[in-house]
Structure formats: C-alpha cells, structure tokens
C-alpha cells in the first residue's frame, strides 16, 4: 500500500508517497533528491548511509521510510549550509578525507557524538565511528580531527558545554 509520509528534512517539511518496503535511504536519494547518504552495502555494515534521525546517527538503509513519518531527518545537506561547521572546516584544513565517499556518514556520526558528548576520549570517538567504514584514510586523521575540534570547542565555550552535559 502506498502511503504518504511527511518528514522534516533538513528543516523543511517534505512529503512523499512511499511503499511499505522502501528504505529511508532510497526515499531520500530517489524521491527527495538528497544524495549525500550513500549506499555502500545496503545491509547495515558500512555506515555510508548514515543520517541523523531526531538527532541520533542511524543507518538509513536499515530503516523503512514509513517508520520515520513525522520525524526529523538531517543529512549532510542540512549541515553547515551557509557556512561550514567547525568540524567541516577542520576536516578540510587537515586534508582528512581521501575519496570522500564515507565523509557524509563520518561527519554526521562525529557531529552526533560531539552533540551528546562534547569532550569524548579517543576511545569514545573510535567507538562512535566504528560503524562507519573508511577504506582510504586508516581513520587516524578522522579521529584526531574530531578530538581536536572537541578540544577547541571546550576552550571556546565552556558554558555551552556544561549546559549540554
């Protein structure tokens, strides 16, 4: 049965008619034209399809589109639209990504981590990113950049950090 869903996608309400077996990934890419969630495996192994669902990093290939009706979804298109975020800037400055295919998922997983845990340890960063496979970078530059951004934000706005934690 085709069903109409409405989601808040990157801040805008978008509607689509979806079949019950359509994944959120397919609907985002095929019906909403949002192409930064990538398909790397289609079975929950790689994290290339990561999006934020009500702020949580999830794999959109494992979620049915009808399940997210009424919820809020953020993809990389919705991050740093006007101006890249501190995380994005640091990723550019440190020449972190290579092929870049994992980047959308990595950035969203990192952003979700920092929102929840602004001062993660290295192990916590690695754990938070363990569901996002990268074949190019060896992870090192990604992990170090996330840690550096966290450290810098701690210096900048301690009040905001305390408020969130």
């Amino acid at each position: 049965m085709i069903q109409e869903i409405a989601i808040r996608l990157n801040g805008e309400v978008r509607r689509a008619a979806v079949a019950p077996n359509e994944t959120l990934l397919d609907v985002l890419r095929g019906k909403f034209g949002v192409k930064t969630p990538k398909e790397g495996c289609g079975r929950g192994d790689c994290g290339a399809c990561t999006v934020l669902l009500d702020g949580k990093a999830v794999r959109s290939c494992l979620i049915l589109a009808i399940e997210v009706d009424g919820q809020s979804v953020v993809t990389l298109e919705g991050v740093g639209r006007d101006k890249p975020t501190a995380l994005q800037k640091a990723f550019v400055k440190n020449n972190v990504f290579q092929c870049g295919f994992c980047a959308p998922g990595m950035i969203l997983s990192s952003a979700a981590l920092l929102a929840e845990n602004p001062q993660p340890t290295e192990h916590e960063v690695r754990e938070a990113l363990a569901g996002n496979l990268c074949r190019c970078t060896g992870y090192e530059p990604i992990v170090q950049t996330v840690l550096a951004v966290a450290k810098k934000s701690a210096k900048k706005k301690p009040a905001a950090r305390r408020a969130r934690s």
Binding site: K35, C46, A48, N95
Partner: protein, 806 residues
C-alpha cells in the same frame, strides 16, 4: 633542484570543501530523469558449465521489463592486455557470478524480480578450482581457444594449457650461485585472494543517443583506457573513439579495482540495446566482491643462497598465480612480479618464474600493490629467516644487501636513485630496534622491519597530457585525465602548475575528467600519475610561462630573457618596479600606445611519455628491455603484542619510511602512508576470503569479510618521508600510493615470530592461526575445505613442477 614555494607544502585539497559539504558527486548521485532504465544481471550459479539454454521468455513478459539481453545479442570479447573476457557468457560459464544475461526494466525492483525468472540450463563441466588441477597434464581447459586471443606482445600464453602468461627472468647463473652459497633456505608461502572493498561499489550509467554516440558515466580509474577497450570491443556497432565518451565524476575508492574495464562494458551494451534511453547498472556489495576483479592468490617457493658474511648470492623465486576465469589484467600483475621478485636487494644470480594460471574462480586484476604485496610476504619472511639462520641481525642483513642507485636489476637495466638504507635506519630507530620491550603478563611483544619496492607496471608508451588556460581574473583551469581516487591527484597537479606560474593553488580549478574535453591519460594506476601527469602539467605550465614572457616582451619592447614570473605578475630583472599582473593581460592582451592590443587568451599544453622504456626483453630471460620506469623504495617496522593464550595480535606501533623523491604535498603522502598501512594490516590480520568447494564465494559482505574499523587500528603510526630526487620526475617526485601497504604482511609475520617464535607462512595471520601454532597444531591439518586460496593441500606438498616450472 632549486627551492620550491608551493611544491613541498601541504596545500589544502582542491576537493576538500566539496567532499565535506556533500557537493562532491559520485556516479550514482547524477540524475538522468524519468527516462532512466535500470538493469540487473543474471549470474552463473556454476563454476564451470556449458550453457545449454538460457530461457528469458518469462522474464521478458514480467511487468516493467523492457528488454532482456543475453550473450547471443552481444557475442564479443574484451580485455585490457588480452581479450579473454566475455561481455556475456557465450557457450559456457567460467565462474560463479559470471554474467549470463541482463534484464532492463523501468525500476530496479522490476529488473530484480524479472532477473529471477530467467531459466538457465547448465551442463556441468569439471570445475578447475585448484592450481594443481589447472596445471596438470590432462587438465580441463578453461580457455580452449587461448591461441586465438588478441594480446600485448609481452604476454606468453601457452595454447593447450591453462597458462595465461609465464614471465621468466634470468640473471647470472643461479646454479653456480647456489654452489657458492654457505647457506641455502627453501620454503613455500601462500597468499590468498583479497577484495578491494572500496566503499562505493562499481556504478555506471550509459546512454546511446539517437545520433549514435555512446556516453558512459562511470566510477572508474581509467576513462581513456575504458574508451579504448570499448572502441575495440564494440567496433561491430560502428563505434569509433570519437563516438564514445566516458565521464568520470568522483570515485568512492578504487585501489585498482576500478582500473581497466570490468562491468562497465555491460552497461555500454545495454545502452546500445536501449538506444535513446539511459540505462543504469550498479553493482551490489556482493557483486563488487564476486564480479569485478579480486587480488590474485599466489603460492610461491623461495630458495635463497647466502654467504656467511650475509651477501645474497642466488635467488630462485617461483610463483603460481590463481588468475581466475580471465587474465586480461591479472597477467600483467604476474608479469610485473616476474620482473621484480628479487625485492629491493642486490642479487647477482636470479631465476624467477611467475606463472599466471586460469582457474574457475572469479577473475582477478589490479589491486593496490600490483603483486608486490603478495611476493613480499614470502620474500621478506624468508629474508628474516635466512639472516637469523646465519646468525646475522635481520636489519643489518637488509642494510647490507639493500639495492642502490646504479645496481643492475634482474632484467639488466640499472636502478634509479632511492635511499633504502636511509629508510631502514629511520624506521629501525623509530621502533627502537634491538631493544627488548617489556610485555604485560600473558603477552609477548615482538618487533620487525620489512623492506619494500615497487615500480609502476605499464606499457612502454603509457603517456599523460595536460591543458592549462587562463581566465580573465588570472585564475586558471587545468584539465588532466588522471583520476582523483582519493589520493589527492587533483591537488598535486594544481600544485605543480601553481609552482611554475607563481599562482596560489586556490586560483586553479582542476576537476575530474571527461574524455571529450580533457586531454589523454593512459590510466590512474601504478602510482605513476604524480610522476607522469605531473611532468605533463609542468610542461604545460612551462609553455604558458613562455607565452606570458613572450607576450609582455613583444608588447613592451623588452627582452624575454630579462623577464620572470613572481606573485602572479611578469617582472623584470632590469627594472625592479616593473610588474605586470597576469589578470591585466592574459585574456585581453596588452594595449600599445597606438591602441593596438598584443596577445590573446593564454593557454598551454604539455605531454609526457617515458621514451626510455621498452617491453621487448628476451622471453626466456627478460634481458634486453627496460620494462620499468623506476622503483620507489622504503621499509616498514612494527612493535606487536601477542596474547599467548588467544593469539590475538595488537599492533602497538608502526613506522613506515618511503622515498618519495619529492613530496609535492607531504600531508597527502602521510595520508597514503597511514591509509596504506591500515589496508596492509587488514590483509594480514582481518580479511579472510572464503570459497566453498563448489567455487562459490562464501563471504561477499562486510559482516563476514572484515575490514578494519576505527577501533582496529595500530596504537601509533609514524609516517616518514625521504626525498632522494627522481631525476625525471616533476620536481623530483615519484609515486608512493601503493607502496605503503606492500611490507605490512611480512612485517606482521616477522613480529609474531619475534614475539612467540611461531612462523606463519600462509596469510592471513589470524589469531586463530597463532593460537593453534602456540599449541603445536599445524593449521594446515585443521583448516577445513573452505579456502581463499586455490590450493587445498598442504603448501609444502604443492607440485611446483606441474606445468614445467621447475
């Protein structure tokens, strides 16, 4: 070499912002509108069988289906170095997963459903799943018409056998060498197949428009090689090179797997079948494993003779490669190893036999390292054992035998500059070689150091070209056709142009290629584009520079010799105050007092071909040619902790030194080192491909075929860059991309041996194998019958004489 200002700096990647904002487009991100059709391929379920009947009638009638195509529609062959691959299986299938037919439908779901309705009648043939079977006297032939295939002149297939190519290299007198030796060690090492695992799978959309031109948007490392292979294979459709256009947006990882042509040609013919409508063909992760190209498995026997004093006097290296069902690319891997399997050492007497063998396994081809990772596993393991056997420190042994500039290579040419000894010293220091580390209770700590070398394997006339053109504001567009596969190629090319023209990197736009508009590049493989295309870009920039100077000289009545470029201006040595900004004249010219304008749009072209190379060595000895342009050398070391109970390995620290000649962008070189080490460690520690006894791949997904996550990385990675200029490289640079994974596997094997005294000779080097060995159990006796390698017995029993290799 004069001092550089931009080359040598870690400029920010030109594609950096596009990749973190999501602006970077990959093939599947492109939109083709509602006319787009979707294709799904019907695959063989048998490893070797005659195709009796392919019944597509039910599929053709299924809802949403517009066309079903089989081998009857496209009975053509293709291949990069040898045309031994079929667009669709013809009278027989040769591996599980081979494409038999394709369904084209309005939606992916309709295509998938219909593909299941295609009925294939097989008549089983004996499947050749073991190298020994493939090479025995009365072996079942996988390519009965091997003698008819088109191929490059440096391949030597043996008609009437399963041998696709046999590279022989002979130097000195190996028998005499062994007679002079004080100590000889001979042993067998095996390396299974591996999969590339780019996170983006192969994806391509093709359009054969109503005027008869074919455009493919492909995730590819090789747009021009693809165009050429397609123009050759698709000649029957009247397609010429100018009628075929390959557009290659960003690629989500290549690692050699997207070099040459594999599934792209299927999309090409489906587009031809569906004239006027675009057809999309995306590989699933499972297909990415099964039907592109894997890294070949190899069984290698190393026999080395040394003097008491440590000099290597003789090496006999015999390698049998499991190429799978086609060898159109893999045979060149075998060839490359056949020329270079001495490793980076001086060896006076050499006998190498590198034999490429067809089997009924999925086809193999290029994979980062191009055979060097595979042979270094045995060779470097062996070297440590030989050194220890004569009571010499393995690092000292390597240092003593390390190859140096001017040394005679196995095929007779001379070694290029490269500081292997410097690399050894730096890495040894970094891992505190010779110092015993304390281990935690229940653990043991081992150390190791392994060397590597690698040369690009390319035809002697592989070439590069570049175009540069100025814009009104003094910014530039640079077009090249090397691929940005993540290594940072576009950035490095911009840096080369920027250096010559004194323009900031940010003012140069350089994007991924389109064969219609961009100049020629052979392929982005072999870690050769920085060197080769860098030379072309430099030449283009020099041409632009000459035009800048000449234009100003002519317009201002000055001597071009007195002029130079600095800070985006033409300046004069005679008049310190003279400075003409590029933006003031590079398009509109320079006005003379009478109102005439001098000049015009300034642009330049550059090309490069390594004119000193030749593939025409003697087939029996490989002497006489000059097949390789240069080698990049280096070494890697590790400190590894072994759990004595579970066998679990933890890499506490690794360091890798590579002689880049000149690191045009050191941060990008570091990126290659760190990424390469982790990929190399993955082949040693995690990736464990398994085939069932019927030739079916058992773990074509990331649940069962483990690649490292952020939690599976070494505690510390130290990248070290050495710079001994490559005289014919751009600013002295040579390639480093593949090299960084080559030494990783033997490095781990040696560290395990150092820690717990266990010598593993079959990859991968899993905890399971270590734990078994620690209990005195030989893995070979308990390994079961699912294997990643095409030999099911004990490696020590492998009949190397089969096929006449002895």
């Amino acid at each position: 070499m004069s001092k550089t200002k931009i080359v040598g700096n870690s400029s920010v990647r030109v594609d950096g912002l596009a990749k973190v904002t999501g602006a970077a487009q990959y093939v599947d991100d492109l939109d083709f509108g509602p006319g787009l059709l979707h294709a799904v391929v019907v695959e063989s379920t048998r490893a070797h069988a005659k195709l009796k009947k392919v019944d597509v009638s039910a599929a053709a009638k299924a809802p949403g289906v517009v066309r079903v195509v089989t081998g009857k529609d496209f009975p053509y062959m293709f291949g990069l170095y040898m045309q031994d691959r079929y667009i669709f299986a013809q009278d027989r299938v040769r591996f599980v997963g081979e494409q038999i037919a394709a369904v084209v439908a309005e939606t992916p779901e309709a295509a998938l459903r219909a593909a299941k309705l295609v009925k294939v009648d097989y008549e089983e043939l004996p499947a050749v799943l073991s190298l020994a079977d493939a090479l025995k006297k009365d072996a079942v032939l996988i390519h009965p018409h091997l003698d008819r295939y088109n191929k490059v002149p440096w391949f030597f297939p043996r008609a009437g056998t399963n041998i696709a190519h046999w590279r022989k290299t002979r130097k000195g007198d190996v028998e005499k060498g062994f007679q002079q030796a004080d100590f000889i060690l001979e042993d067998v090492y095996t390396v299974p197949r591996y999969a590339h695992c780019p996170i983006e799978t192969h994806a391509v959309t093709g359009l054969f428009d109503l005027s008869g031109r074919l455009t493919l948007w492909a995730s590819s490392q090789s747009p021009f090689a693809q165009r050429n292979v397609m123009a050759t294979a698709l000649k029957p459709f009247g397609l010429t090179h100018k009628d075929i256009r390959i557009v290659t947006p960003y690629v989500g990882g290549g690692f050699g797997g997207k070099a040459g042509v594999s599934m792209e040609i299927i999309a090409a013919v489906l587009a031809i079948a569906m004239k006027g409508r675009p057809v999309k063909l995306n590989w699933t992760r499972e297909q990415e494993f099964m039907n592109t190209s894997q890294r070949q498995g190899v069984i290698a026997r190393v026999k080395m003779g040394v003097k008491k004093t440590g000099q290597i006097v003789a090496l006999e290296h015999t390698l049998h490669w499991d190429a799978g069902a086609s060898a159109e690319y893999g045979a060149n891997v075998v060839n490359a190893v056949g020329l270079s399997a001495t490793g980076p050492y001086r060896v006076p007497n050499v006998k190498i036999d590198s034999v490429c063998v067809y089997t009924n396994m999925p086809p193999c081809g290029a994979y980062r390292g191009f055979g060097y990772s595979e042979f270094h596993f045995g060779l470097e393991s062996h070297i440590t054992r030989v050194a220890q056997a004569i009571g010499m420190d393995p690092v000292k042994f390597r240092r003593l035998n390390a190859i140096q500039e001017g040394d005679v290579l196995a095929y007779g040419a001379h070694m290029n500059p490269g500081d292997l000894r410097g690399a050894i010293d730096r890495v040894a220091k970094e891992i505190r070689w010779g110092k015993k580390e304390k281990a935690k209770p229940g653990k043991a700590v081992g150390k190791s150091l392994a060397c590597f070398w690698k040369a690009p394997a390319m035809p002697p006339n592989a070439s590069s070209a570049a175009f540069l053109k100025f814009n009104e504001d003094g910014s530039l567009n640079l077009t090249v056709s090397g691929m940005e596969i993540g290594q940072g190629f576009l950035t490095v090319m911009a840096q080369c142009a920027a250096e010559v023209l004194t323009v900031p990197v940010e003012k140069i736009r350089v994007e991924t290629p389109d064969t219609d508009r961009n100049p020629y590049e052979w392929q982005t493989v072999g870690s050769h584009v920085t060197w080769s295309c860098g030379n072309a870009v430099r030449a283009a920039a020099e041409e632009v520079k000459t035009k800048l100077l000449a234009t100003v000289a002519r317009a201002k009545g000055l001597k071009a010799e007195d002029l130079y470029l600095a800070d985006e201006c033409v300046k004069s040595r005679q008049d310190k105050k003279f400075a003409l900004p590029f933006r003031s004249f590079v398009i509109d010219g320079i006005m003379r007092p009478n109102g005439n304008f001098i000049g015009g749009p300034i642009q330049g072209t550059g090309m490069f071909m390594p004119e000193f190379t030749s593939a025409l060595g003697d087939p029996e000895t490989s002497q006489g040619g000059h097949p390789n342009v240069h080698y990049t050398v280096g070494c890697a070391g590790a400190i590894v902790e072994v759990d004595k109970e579970t066998g679990k390995l933890t890499v506490l620290k690794t360091a890798l030194a590579v002689d880049a000649g000149k690191a045009i962008n050191p941060e990008l070189v570091d990126g290659q080192i760190v990424g390469g080490i982790v990929q190399g460690l993955a082949t040693a520690l995690y990736e464990d491909i398994r085939y069932g006894a019927n030739g079916r791949l058992l773990n074509p997904n990331f649940t069962d075929y483990k690649i490292p996550t952020a939690l599976d990385c070494p505690g510390e990675i130290v990248p070290i860059i050495l710079e001994t200029a490559q005289p014919d490289g751009p600013f002295g640079a040579r390639g480093v991309g593949e090299h960084t994974m080559v030494a990783c596997a033997p490095m781990i094997a040696d560290a395990i041996a150092d820690a717990v005294g266990v010598r593993l000779k079959t990859m991968p080097l899993t905890a399971e194998k270590v734990a078994l060995a620690l209990r005195g159990i030989d893995y070979e006796t308990v390994k079961g019958d699912s294997l990643g390698f095409c030999f099911r017995g004990r490696p020590c029993d492998y009949p190397f004489a089969v096929g006449g290799a002895k």
